[in-house]
Symmetry: D2
Subunit: 490 residues, 4 copies
């Protein structure tokens, strides 16, 4: 039966939440474009659909935006030669929209009355459509569906005089999560939303300022980590140095996205000075304590489950083994938009290492369960390879809610944990036991005593439904954006 | 010596003025996209760089814009399948700007608060930059350098309520020449500037309304010619039929571009109910009368000199012969932007038919002399083929002034006739005699008694310097548009 | 009714015989590749599907072969830079085979035991399949379906010692028509079949030897015409100069293809020292004498009917008028392989110039009638434009037989003249009168007293069925080449 | 200083030996092309430059060959639709040759007198050039530089009557290593060289026969592993079932490539019924015993060093930690041919996980040292991340000799271990201690008691210089293949 199922529908969509973007900026280095390219390459895990770079050479802005991986598009000499200048910003993007989305690829650029300005951001506004409607009524013409363009139009329409003030004017109208980098003729600007949901760090490369979504993008170019940009902070970098502004009134506590630790960020990055790999190992240790299993070995679902599996194995004193082998060449196919390819996910990516699994009681460690489709296949694959028992351990609490802050999540109704109890899920994915990390266990792994339910220290809405901002667009009647749309290919 | 010159620099730029655009629209036909494609193909001589089509299918607008010829881009089934709907507009474009100009390709589209609108135009505004500067100050963000986008922003910023009123609001701010087609969800709109400098005709295809730059685009789809759209007229075509508006106060007389008869329009088109081929033959007859030559045969510089040469030969009772053969495959290379290719023009296009020329006294008929580079080569080629005498006859008056109404002309200082007397030109291009048609002769050929110098019946600024509108941008100090610019490839 | 027909099937295939190739070679010029490119451009009318160039730089051969026009592929600096060397050959090709035919594009190249050799040819072998079968039995592996590869394998398998002897060995096994150019490390070779069916001329460019299908390819680079390569002659060009061999026993008289004069060759070329344009004009004069018409004007079907129409008009003392306008941008679409595009021929190419035709009695002059589909549409178009009478005059005898010598002809059964009498054809295409040139009239136009039926001076098989060689493959049972075939895209 | 070095030359070539190919075949399944695609995807690690598939549909062979990854080229519906048939073979390839190598991409196809035949192989012939020279003298024309084409020409030239006998005739002339798959109209053929240097396994998918380089390619399609094809065995699969031939006289013992266990094969594959991951773990255990280290943790150089590091850590009772993080997106850039990109290897691929390394004594485990460039950078990177001591342990003996059997190795003089002692290497890469596995330890890890020096059980020439076949081409004077060559871009 399972065999039939494999024959008729052998593959499934990649069953993970997906970060929608990474940003990078540098000011004052003669190899600006090459360094932005390397930074974006280090941030490739935050978006594989498209990438773009804008530089400024003292006279002219240069823009290159391409569908596909950084390493496939920004390695040609001709491309790099066009990106002249000692300052630049870049963006790497994952997207759910169609093939023709080149005009949506960031950084976006606008000619303002006062000069050119390019911008890229990571995150998602929760009132973007409401703002767009209003801007259209005031005479703005939109070329894309990007939140970045909304911000640009807010800047253009601002009655303030100077660019920084116009940008502040714009930011104070935004709701949601964002970490943005902007480039004018004289300034590199970085800004983070008041809650600091999305990450942004500051680095230094022999005197050149660097902004990046994660510290791994500093490491690749050998830049020194200086500090995290603070929630609600705006930094203005120019030939005069760095100026820090705090344009927002202080509200609540910071609410950094806790899922960055669970899955999005690269393990070698540090966020808020906490190493991600260390958090993931501690998650595995917590999990071993909360939900031990009588088993022969610990097997990660690679690669995202690996650090937690190492932590689990060490804490449980069980051997850690590569019982599932990942084929890394598959990554690329995710860009292709056809159904048939989207359905080739799991089996193309993973293979059971039968010699390790046959006859064994296996603890299987994965980072999360989204739709459950991957888990179902993985467990079946492990069983077909001869595993006697399968104990699934999940390195996060049940994912029960959609994210509206720049992460591609299925609708709530498609999240397995929103439809089933843990027992039902265990039956569904056919494991002998299933356990998720507790929310307090997760907070402990990131170095807290547990969740402060009065003032939660992180945004954990995907686990708790506790959204730290209002969701204006989502709460509107659906016809709000029933605009006539243009479909353009090519 | 001339031989050496050929060896080291054998080729030259295409030495003609170039029309910058053709437009086409249809409303109420199930094959709208295919018919727009055919119409644009018939208008290909008005612009070979790029082409675009926008259709509306009752719910959504569809846009396809491509660099290159209509016949190379709009012949694939996939492209045509995407252009659903029973109404559409199209545009074919010649341009001087760089390779990356896809965002400049028309029709342009905008989502207004009240719905989508696509627009394309032929012509050129003489106050576009001034308007752009003002719009940027008011918060508009420009994505292209197209006059069409300026008009779209004027519409978006209009305080009027309804689209037609917004458009009128926009048009009344424009200076210059334009023939435009627009497509909203409910309406196909056509409009011509108050002087009617650029052409636009109305046709009927079994009840479907058609708008086109020239009648040859009606012929290709078998549509019936109804009438010319009048100078300053705006037609609104909808399911309720055609409504004609005259939003401008009447000013002066119409000033249709007389050069359309000389060179731009296709010979099988009729403009103002006058057949272009007929005009060109009469030009040749006038020329034979004004400047006869003692010669053995009449040879056209193909293809633009052919009708006038036939007229000259018939009036002079001399044999008409194909003494120069044109290689039509060259047309395509004009798109390529490199210098080396631009320099391969004349010789790649023409070859002397030695057997016809050797030992003969030749009347050579061409439509105009711009820089003189082509004439120089052609005369030399004809002489090298053995012609005993070369009498050049030009089917228009000397081109002494630049056009600012949608025609790509060199700066005045590069126009041969602005720098030299006719004698000097004759020496320069090395002919035994040279004559241009008189301005009155040209007016006679188009059916007038001559030029009415008080109220000239046509725009003939390229011959007379008498510009029918103000030239606001041109008269501004040059730093007005010193905006920081974005260079984007791709 | 005719209107309905236009609506449902408005367009038709290009209704002409098609030459399959042009060849060019040069030896001893530092700009070899650029000059080959120009030569091929001048020969573009002999094949628009693909083009290729091979050069030799003293150490290495360089090859560039591309689908599409010469001017689209050999104008980029990178391409030209790769084609190093002072000698080269080129080929331009029309083909009936599928999109994947890059491996069929000539010149073909082979590494022989004695060194490299590249070859390209115009023409068609009538025993190629028979030779291929035999070569496969002896161990040859074919990569293409090109006759050129057959010749290369015959060379490779020859027991002769030296390349020239091997080539002679190969040529003496061939049946059919060919004009070939070959390039070894030391030699440029040209050869023509014993009957000289296909053309090949010798030129001189400041001491560099040039070979080309037509003299127009000499003109474009300013090379001096030296002489025609003789039927059955092989010329060996090396640093030692030119050596002429006559490897074939003399058989019969030369039989140059008379259709080259009628349609294939460019009017500015001279063949056997006879100017093509002159022949075509004389054809028109003969036609006016053989089949006069009581009419108001003479209109060519452009461009191929134009010289004959000029000749007819002069002989008949009737005005010559451009009553049909050709849109030259259509040429390009012939490359596209889809049916729907193939069906867009006539109307896309031609438009009636109503103002010239309305109410007139018209003599319509075309070069030939193949399937009759084009004539049908053209006549209908001319009548719809108001012509009162249409008298069709054809500048060649009825085309009743297929060509097997390198011209793409429909099967005999699809040739209108093989199925109908002249009266039936006149009814079919709906003209008031129809006349073809007589075969003797055609011979007179090329300067003979008429056809010598004992020893015809030309190959006129398409008109007479008198094939000058045996047709070995054609006479075989059809299963001879039922080989398993490989379909490869890309 | 090290910092300066990073600035001026930050990146290095991928410093591994590279397998040159993977092969796959299937007979008797309606989804043949899709299954070949999946099989090739599972074998992608054996070659990323290009891939090809040939199928046979009962009447016609279909071929698709593309540069790039399987997942990028064989996922489009159009491509798959063209590959009709119930049998097919495929090939994935790594290559050192230039960009234009499409004609070198396998499978190659030939039309023999007796029918079509396609072939692909993994391995390398050591007398290919000698055979090619001889075949050229006999009249063969080569289109590629592939060994496969040499085999095809040997088949074509064979005087045997039947395909299988011709193939045997060809194989008996070969020297070297190969595992090949062939497809005729009726048969799928698999063959392995007499020593069985390169792997080939037989599988069964619901009755359809499968051939593949590794068992992981059976797993991906759910096929059952049947057995290894034996050294010197040829299997003929047809509608009549499988026939096994042993055409070679028995010589010596089998000599399977031991490096497949060390690095080439995927860890989840089993070779000769021995699981690769298990071997690698045992290698780590042997290494921990042979060369223990006083350290805090064991860190793999990912991914190739990971299984040995796990084995080392378990045997040494030290924690296994991900102290280096690999960025998997880099894989793709290896295809790009420019120097600048080739130089972006190490740092683009790896980043130190500082939080794990700072202040620690680290055992670093890698699979091999080739040029040493990667090790140098990795060690430096680990030290810069704060490691107090670095003890490098290599999971194989020193690589001292080039491979001539289908593995891309640098010349002997570029192999670090051929130039330096272990002490010198330790100094060069700047480690506190360096140890390689002993050759006997390696043999123990694959399940032997040690190396039988009389009759070595494996090909270990890269470690010992003991080549199991003669090296005919390599021993020839170098001018043997000084043929004139053709450079073709495409």
């Amino acid at each position: 039966m399972s065999d039939d199922m494999l024959t008729t529908n052998p593959f499934e969509d990649g069953d993970h939440l997906r970060e929608e973007c990474g940003v990078f900026g540098i000011f004052g280095h003669s190899d600006a474009a090459a360094l932005v390219t390397l930074g974006l390459h280090a941030l490739q895990h935050r978006g594989q659909e498209a990438a773009g770079i804008v530089t400024f050479d003292g006279k002219q802005f240069h823009s290159e935006r391409h569908m596909g991986l950084v390493g496939d598009n920004f390695t040609k000499q001709a491309v790099m030669n066009r990106l002249q200048g000692d300052r630049g910003i870049g963006h790497t993007r994952y997207s759910t929209t169609g093939a023709s989305a080149l005009r949506n690829v960031q950084p976006l650029y606008a000619d303002f009355a006062g000069g050119g300005f390019a911008m890229a951001h990571n995150g998602n506004l929760t009132n973007a459509l409401t703002l767009q409607k209003d801007l259209q009524r005031r005479g703005s013409i939109f070329q894309s569906t990007s939140d970045s363009e909304t911000i640009l139009h807010l800047i253009a329409m601002s009655s303030q005089k100077h660019l920084v003030d116009k940008l502040i004017d714009a930011l104070t109208q935004l709701e949601g999560a964002y970490a943005l980098v902007g480039l004018s003729e004289k300034k590199l600007i970085g800004a983070r939303d008041p809650l600091g949901v999305r990450p942004l760090v500051l680095g230094d490369l022999h005197g050149a300022y660097v902004l990046a979504s994660e510290t791994c993008a500093l490491d690749i170019i050998g830049a020194r980590f200086v500090r995290d940009i603070e929630p609600g902070e705006m930094v203005i970098i120019s030939n005069e140095g760095l100026e820090s502004l705090h344009p927002f009134e202080k509200r609540n506590h910071p609410r950094f996205c806790i899922f960055e630790y669970v899955y999005f960020a690269r393990p070698d990055s540090s966020v808020n000075s906490v190493n991600v790999y260390g958090v993931r190992k501690r998650i595995g240790e917590e999990l071993a304590r909360e939900a031990p299993a009588d088993a022969d070995l610990v097997v990660p679902v690679p690669d995202s489950g690996t650090p937690a599996a190492i932590g689990f194995a060490q804490a449980a004193n069980l051997p850690f083994e590569l019982g599932i082998i990942r084929n890394h060449y598959v990554g690329r196919t995710f860009i292709a938009p056809t159904d048939s390819i989207r359905h080739m996910g799991v089996k193309l990516k993973h293979n059971a290492n039968r010699a390790m699994l046959d006859g064994k009681r296996v603890v299987l460690v994965d980072d999360s369960i989204v739709r459950g489709t991957t888990s179902l296949k993985i467990v079946q694959m492990v069983r077909e390879a001869g595993a006697r028992e399968v104990h699934m351990r999940i390195a996060s609490p049940p994912t029960t809610n959609s994210c509206f802050y720049g992460v591609d999540t299925p609708e709530k109704t498609k999240l397995l944990a929103s439809r089933m109890s843990i027992e039902e899920m265990a039956n569904y994915i056919k494991v002998d036991s299933l356990a998720f990390l507790s929310i307090d266990g997760l907070y402990r792994a990131v170095g807290q005593y547990g969740r402060d339910n009065e003032h939660p220290q992180f945004c954990d809405a995907c686990f708790t439904g506790d959204y730290p901002t209002s969701l204006t667009d989502h709460d509107q009647p659906t016809e709000i954006m029933k605009a006539t749309r243009l479909a353009e290919a090519g």
